[in-house]
């Protein structure tokens, strides 16, 4: 690790102001991604702005139509929340299959989204549920938040404060775990709302994306059988030593069918 200045602001405004002043600032949430990257000397921020004291960023609120989760809320808290389980069980499930207990008790929603790992689970839920990302400056709809590999719509120094998830009629998340890292090789989040069907895929591409082909088929007939004949193209999908693009394409179909079967 290289040396850096460490700050512990108490408000979002102070955090943003610190970030604006610093040479190369990074917000620190759970540190599950940032700290290993610093230890491996892959990340070298001059200033680390710890969000731990920003109490407003922590917590879960469920209203009639949405679940609002603070950016600093732990995965473990979302997974265990009775309210989330009642309103959007698939979201609690999604948080509960992230990493391992240690990771879930440090990692946060805001950190996961800001980092936008191609294999992270939350992005599938955010996109699948058509959530809104609230930042210190604006609100960003899910469809324009995830931009590419580790790339989001966030501007430098912009802080995620919360995410609001509209409550769907039904939703399910199916994950094919990476054998070594336990991230998603492929994760498919399917949500059915009054407005239609959304299918979001993580793990397979540079960042989470919607599988419109599957959405259209399910809009006509919301059943696993509706997906049977559909061949998903492997073009542009990720390939690594564990899963080549064609295998990932195949897994999208399998995970989507299983998700639909769970809620059809």
């Amino acid at each position: 690790m290289y040396s850096f200045a460490y700050h512990r602001p108490v408000s979002a405004a102070e955090a943003e102001a610190l970030a604006a002043k610093a040479g190369e600032a990074r917000f620190l949430a759970g540190g599950m991604t940032l700290l290993p990257a610093m230890k491996l000397r892959l990340a070298q921020p001059t200033d680390l702005i710890d969000l731990a004291r920003l109490g407003d960023l922590r917590g879960i609120k469920v209203s009639g139509s949405e679940v609002r989760i603070g950016a600093m809320t732990l995965h473990a808290a979302v997974a265990a929340s009775a309210e989330v389980k009642r309103a959007i069980p698939a979201l609690a499930h999604c948080a509960g299959v992230i990493g391992d207990p240690q990771v879930r008790n440090r990692g946060t929603l805001g950190g996961s989204l800001a980092n936008n790992d191609p294999a992270a689970d939350y992005p599938a839920a955010v996109l699948g549920l058509n959530a809104t990302v609230h930042t210190s400056r604006r609100t960003i709809p899910a469809d324009s938040f995830f931009r590419g590999l580790f790339e989001t719509a966030l501007e430098p120094g912009e802080l995620i404060t919360a995410v609001s998830f509209p409550i769907p009629e039904r939703a399910a998340y199916e994950k094919f775990r990476h054998p070594a890292s336990r991230y998603a090789v492929v994760g498919v989040f399917v949500a059915r709302t009054g407005g239609g069907v959304r299918v979001a895929v993580t793990g397979a591409g540079p960042c989470a994306f919607r599988a419109t082909q599957l959405e259209q088929a399910l809009a006509k007939n919301f059943s696993p059988d509706a997906l049977k004949g559909i061949k998903i193209s492997a073009d542009g999908l990720n390939s690594d030593i564990h899963a080549a693009a064609d295998y990932r394409a195949h897994l999208i179909g399998v995970m989507a069918r299983r998700a639909v079967a769970a809620i059809a």
Binding site: M1, F176, A180, S181, I241, V254
Partner: protein
């Protein structure tokens, strides 16, 4: 059996220390004035070093020194030696290129040691290491095992033509050819034994210290065998006499073989401590472990089995290419030869066997022994081959095994590949395993799984291994450059408690308990009164350490021998105190008594008398009660048994789940059944890991490691494993005093083929007959896809 003696499932004494975080590992040791070393490692698989500029790095804060290969060469630092000389078929010696601790002019694998930076803190040393400028001329790399010896492959060493380290053979070629000529059927198989990364929980570390006043060196290191390190480093690398070099291996967090070898970093910190007059500590981080700990396995083999019309094995022919990596690690050369080809008879009475092993250098991390070492490779080959033979001959796979097992009454059994098995009962371990696994009821489980959309399969492996390493004269005649006996010293203290100094080393195996049980059983005392001392060359007698499941069979036997001497001397003291003749003294439950009388004296009083010899046969007997013994085994020991695995494959995703695992092992005398069970469990986890999850992947062009962290290297997890059904059915080793055979490696040796045979059985309804290890989801899925397409095309 007493509550704590031989056979008792006593809880491990050492666990309190381990579980409460109170162990003392090498990294926990800090010496006054200590500096920290960071090794600058090669980012290239193969490159010439045109220049190293350390000037900017040397000026960085906290830097005490930077050394390169040239500096070590100036001090005449020697080459890290290989412990076993193998001869080619034509009796010429193997190619044995040099292995300097820091390379002077050429790097030969990603992670090779280029320079060492020594600074006040580890972070400063890292900063400076990044500031060193190395000018590399990148060369093409030889990476792939099967391709390394082919014409046109990049050459790793000038002195190893076509990258061949040696081309060796074992067995009677003419007899094998004659048998093949008469065969009714020949089954052929091609197999890869996947390369593994050991992943001990504690990464390697080394701390060197030099005392200017006395000229004494001390090395604290994560080693399975401190005396071996002292011998190799002292005599060959740093030229330090043994009385001036102390090597301490304190608590060590697992080894699995990877901590046997003398590593460059040990020599570097010891030498640097001498140069700087300050202690120097190096600790590997996990990423470094992946590219600097010796890897395991990595064989490519072709094998052929000749049978008569009844499936009787007539002869076996094997050709293997084994990868040793870029340098010869300490035992690298004996693993694919004498620990492999000698095991190719397995549990079968195959009359003729011929094996050829070509070992190749590549631009990869050195490969050496890893839990099982050679024996898992032999077992995997044989058990896959036997299953395939059964399919081709249309003979039930269990029946084919039964027809060929070495009969119970054939022991001692001389195999055609040098070994003589002393004892075993393969029929019984097979039958018990079949019963415990409900083999007969399998088809109904397969049918039930099918209803759930799963392909269920069952697989079997009947195996043997040779351990209890090793009879010195035998291994010496085969090229070993060391003896492989073991030592023990027993010191009875004046008040009757006991310290046992053993030459073996415990790094998770539970010796502090098992060995104490042997002493407690013999001397009739609680294990709390017995302390096992190991790991410090200044405290223990010269011993060879722990590997090859040798500690109990060889080290335990040395303890028994030393105990015999203690009892013998104690009897003489007792005879004196009881005014009886020595022949009339009986010793039982810690008490010496005169046969047929009620006159007795407890062991504690004997001890006190030995040290306070007021009433003592001083003209006939020395005072004190301390004895030592060395034990050199007469033969290897031969644990064996039967493993049965059941899996379910998800045909949609290719995921294999192990749903049931049954092991019946013959490990000889059991001292502590709980520890035996734990060793089997751990071994099975590693064997299942090799079969389904673990593989070291190198980019075949660049030689970059693609599985260089836990993001990509899949370790087996608790959730991957079923609750094991484990039992032992033991025949005694006939040539050591305990009758014990060893249990450290059996789990990892017997299980991989049982798993893969089960996967193949599961996939066989689709017409699939082969899958490589590890049987990953993607591999299985691809085979299922291809099979599906083939069917559709039919």
């Amino acid at each position: 059996m007493t509550v704590q003696g031989i056979g008792a499932p006593v809880r491990r004494k050492e666990d309190r220390r381990y579980l409460t975080g109170r162990g003392t590992y090498t990294e926990d040791i800090n010496r006054p004035g200590q500096l920290h070393a960071v090794i600058l490692r090669s980012p290239h698989a193969h490159a010439r070093i045109l220049g190293i500029d350390t000037s900017a790095a040397a000026r960085m804060p906290g830097v005490a020194a930077i050394f390169t290969g040239a500096d070590m060469a100036k001090d005449n630092v020697g080459s890290i030696p290989c412990g076993w000389l193998i001869k080619n078929k034509d009796d010429t010696p193997m190619a044995e290129p040099p292995h300097p601790p820091l390379v002077p002019d050429r790097v030969r694998h990603v992670g090779d040691q280029v320079a060492v930076v020594i600074a006040e803190t580890r972070n400063q040393a890292r900063d400076a290491a990044e500031a060193i400028q190395v000018d590399y001329e990148v060369l093409p790399a030889a990476v792939d095992t099967a391709a390394a010896a082919k014409p046109g492959a990049p050459q790793v060493w000038e002195q190893a033509k076509n990258n061949v380290c040696f081309d060796w053979h074992l067995g009677d070629k003419a007899a094998v050819e004659a048998a093949f000529a008469t065969a009714h059927h020949v089954t052929k198989i091609d197999l890869v034994n996947n390369r593994l990364i050991p992943n001990a929980m504690e990464p390697r570390a080394a701390l060197g210290e030099y005392d200017r006043a006395t000229g004494d060196y001390t090395l604290y290191t994560t080693s399975q065998n401190p005396h071996l390190i002292r011998l190799l480093m002292g005599a060959f690398v740093l030229h330090l006499p043994e009385h001036k070099l102390r090597v301490v291996a304190p608590d060590v967090g697992g080894g699995f073989g990877s901590k046997i070898y003398h590593y460059a970093e040990e020599a570097i910190v010891t030498w640097a401590a001498g140069k700087l007059g300050r202690p120097v500590k190096w600790v590997a981080d996990r990423s470094e472990s992946f590219i600097s700990d010796a890897h395991g396995r990595d064989h490519v083999s072709h094998a052929e089995l000749a049978m008569d019309q009844n499936g009787k094995f007539l002869a076996l022919r094997v050709a293997t290419i084994a990868n040793v990596g870029a340098y010869l690690s300490t035992f690298s050369t004996c693993v694919p030869t004498y620990l492999y080809a000698t095991l190719l008879a397995g549990v079968y009475a195959t009359p003729a066997i011929y094996a050829e092993v070509k070992t190749v250098f590549t631009n990869t991390v050195p490969v050496d022994a890893y839990r099982g070492a050679g024996r898992p490779e032999a077992t995997y080959l044989l058990e896959r081959l036997v299953d395939k033979a059964a399919r081709e001959m249309k003979i039930d796979r269990v029946e084919l095994r039964r027809r060929n097992l070495i009969p119970r009454d054939a022991f001692p059994y001389q195999t055609p590949v040098a070994l003589q098995y002393d004892s075993g009962d393969y029929q019984s371990t097979l039958e018990i395993a079949l019963k415990n696994s409900d083999w007969a009821g399998f088809e109904s489980r397969r049918a039930e799984a099918k209803k759930r959309g799963k392909l269920r399969g069952i697989g079997i492996s009947t195996y043997i291994e040779a351990c209890g390493i090793a009879p010195s004269a035998v291994v010496g005649s085969l090229g070993a450059r060391a003896g492989l006996y073991e030592s023990a010293a027993i010191r009875v203290h004046p008040t009757g408690s006991v310290s046992v100094m053993t030459g073996t080393h415990s790094h998770g195996q539970g010796h502090e308990t098992t060995f104490a049980q042997i002493v407690a059983d013999t001397l009739g005392m609680p294990i709390e009164n017995v302390d096992i001392v190991h790991g410090d060359s200044s405290k223990i007698p010269f011993g060879m350490g722990t590997y090859g499941s040798r500690s109990l069979a060889v080290g335990g036997s040395a303890i028994v021998k030393a105990l015999d001497k203690i009892v013998k001397k104690s009897k003489r003291i007792a005879a004196h105190l009881l005014e009886a003749s020595e022949a009339d003294i009986e010793f039982k439950d810690g008490t010496f008594s005169v046969a047929g009388t009620d006159r007795s004296v407890p062991f504690g009083q004997i001890a006190l008398t030995a040290y306070v010899p007021h009433n003592y046969p001083i003209t006939e007997l020395e005072p004190g009660l301390e004895e030592s013994a060395f034990y050199d085994p007469l033969n290897f020991t031969y644990p064996g048994g039967c493993h049965i695995c059941e899996v379910e494959v998800d045909p949609e995703t290719g995921v294999t789940e192990v749903v049931k695992f049954t092991a019946v092992d013959d490990v000889g005398r059991v001292i502590n059944p709980m520890i035996v069970e734990g060793q089997v469990h751990g071994g099975l986890a590693q064997g299942i890991g090799q079969a389904l999850y673990e593989i070291c992947v190198y980019d075949k062009e660049s030689g970059q490691i693609l599985s260089g962290s836990y993001n990509d290297y899949t370790m087996p997890r608790a959730e991957h494993l079923p609750s094991f059904t484990v039992e032992t059915h033991n025949t005694m080793c006939t040539h050591n005093p305990l009758g014990s055979k060893g249990v450290g490696e059996v789990g990892a040796i017997g299980s991989p083929p049982a798993v893969i045979n089960a996967v193949i059985d599961a996939l066989s309804p689709l017409g699939i007959e082969d899958i490589e290890m590890p049987a990953t989801p993607q591999r299985a899925w691809r085979l299922i896809q291809t099979a599906g397409m083939a069917r559709a095309a039919e």
